[in-house]
Point group: C2
Amino acid sequence: MSQKAVAVAGATGVVGRQMLHVLEQRNFPVKSLRLLASERSKGKTLTFRGEEIPVEVLTPESFAGCDIALFSAGGGTSKRFAPEAAKRGCVVIDNSSAWRMDPEVPLVVPEVNADRIKTHKGIIANPNCSTIQMVVVLKPLHDAATIRRVVVSTYQAVSGAGSAALEEMYLQTRAVLNHETTFPCNSFPHRIAFNCIPQIPGSDAFTSNGYTSEEMKMVNETKKIMGDSSIAVTATTVRVPVHTGHSESVNVETAKKLTAEEARELLRNAPGVVVIDDPANQQYPLAIHAHGKFDTFVGRIREDVSHPLALDMWIVSDNLLKGAALNAVQIAELL
Amino acid sequence: MSQKAVAVAGATGVVGRQMLHVLEQRNFPVKSLRLLASERSKGKTLTFRGEEIPVEVLTPESFAGCDIALFSAGGGTSKRFAPEAAKRGCVVIDNSSAWRMDPEVPLVVPEVNADRIKTHKGIIANPNCSTIQMVVVLKPLHDAATIRRVVVSTYQAVSGAGSAALEEMYLQTRAVLNHETTFPCNSFPHRIAFNCIPQIPGSDAFTSNGYTSEEMKMVNETKKIMGDSSIAVTATTVRVPVHTGHSESVNVETAKKLTAEEARELLRNAPGVVVIDDPANQQYPLAIHAHGKFDTFVGRIREDVSHPLALDMWIVSDNLLKGAALNAVQIAELL
């Protein structure tokens, strides 16, 4: 791969920092690196390969001379600046939801639909974190047995809401442990410490059908990434008091019968997937074990006692890595 | 109701203490009260209606002269002592799983199948906590539209594992906050602080079909309580770092179409159920709000975009109250 001039927009955020980490870890051929953020981060520096790099204020001109821009700066920033970057010949890999459902923009998980990358017109969208880890597991099952319907409930980590949210969870947790009744609650609609919130906050308004936008992302992005609009999906997305690592309880109905062992065998051979499924020895995927790992972990695979053509399973991955930064860098590697 | 001689077996446990609390709260006509526990609790006292009552060591003779015994002392104790109590003319309401699937023993949730009580032969079983709160909500939907299939994923609180487990969660949480790497881990197969464990520990061995026994309780007890073995259920039961209050993401498929608003209307009129479903104002059931309440709360009710005859919903209740102590006392009230 030839050396690339890379820009990271939203470099100081939780995902932005992970992007730098993944570029280092995977020895991405970085010729030059520009770190871009809002006015607020002016004067900061970040370390990349041992070098202190200043954070610059993001402007349309930031992308002049860049080959690839990794964006993780929120939907508004992506909507405004991604076309500016593309106009200057820089390919944008965007982690926000701004472009995902645009029919002109490929939505890519390399293990699932890498071939879509070549259709890009300057912008490639990185899917929602909860969706990425699910489709990596669904793809080999779909290829073998044609998925009809998915019922998923998520257990999503707080780091997906950013560093202020993490800080808030810890402040709330200390307050509860100390029997204090006041604590900050700005990143979440309700207390997250020792609680589960059936709404992923942030851009997450409820839609007219009663689903949250996070839930409808899982419904719609799954169809687009898998390239099959006939896959029916329903999702309930829930924030839980976990630092990093999204867990998912997934029920998968297929057209053709798959035994649990057939599914395990398919998944053992699937790229990016690790099967941990030895319940007798209490081995199954856990958020605390997935934190910091590149793989997606699946276990608790069993034949659904309520349906002859369904399987239940438990899927866990690092929401900042495969769910965001890693997937974006994998796309960059394919460019 | 005439005054009753009541015994509580397992009085010093988390659920036992809640039973005393509920007997007080509901002004149960207690003529006399015996508090029973293992040798370990000898010498302890507990307060009931302002009076200090000594804890006695449980023996078969403990039940002589008692009318009603509330058991929450584990399956082994129930298996051994419930028949001894029944033999002495004392009606046992047992919170363990020992008798639940015995065809001779009614398994009762008063809002669902109160009529089963009269068939008892000395022992009445109190269902599993996760099942109780689900069937209270399912019953009116089943009566109106005939439930075909339920796919449930749980978010279960730590208090269901007892007071040592709660203590351990808090010790682990403090250790993580203080960046310590060693902490106690006896009540759970893995760290529960800032994690989700897809196995409810305790008696919870995995069964040969890959389900945990907690999951199979939800499958089998639902059929028995609802009195309809044709209701297909699959469950994934997960422990989350919450003090008290089980949350459940439930997908319900019915034979007859129910709109979300029809379901809400049925549930608004259902005994023991409170509908909290105003997502635009971020109102939905939460574990921290259900803690200490007698009701079962339901919200996030919506028509499933993946199936024309299914609904998604979010059900929350206090696992120690409706999930255990309250339901047992409600059964006693009906005797």
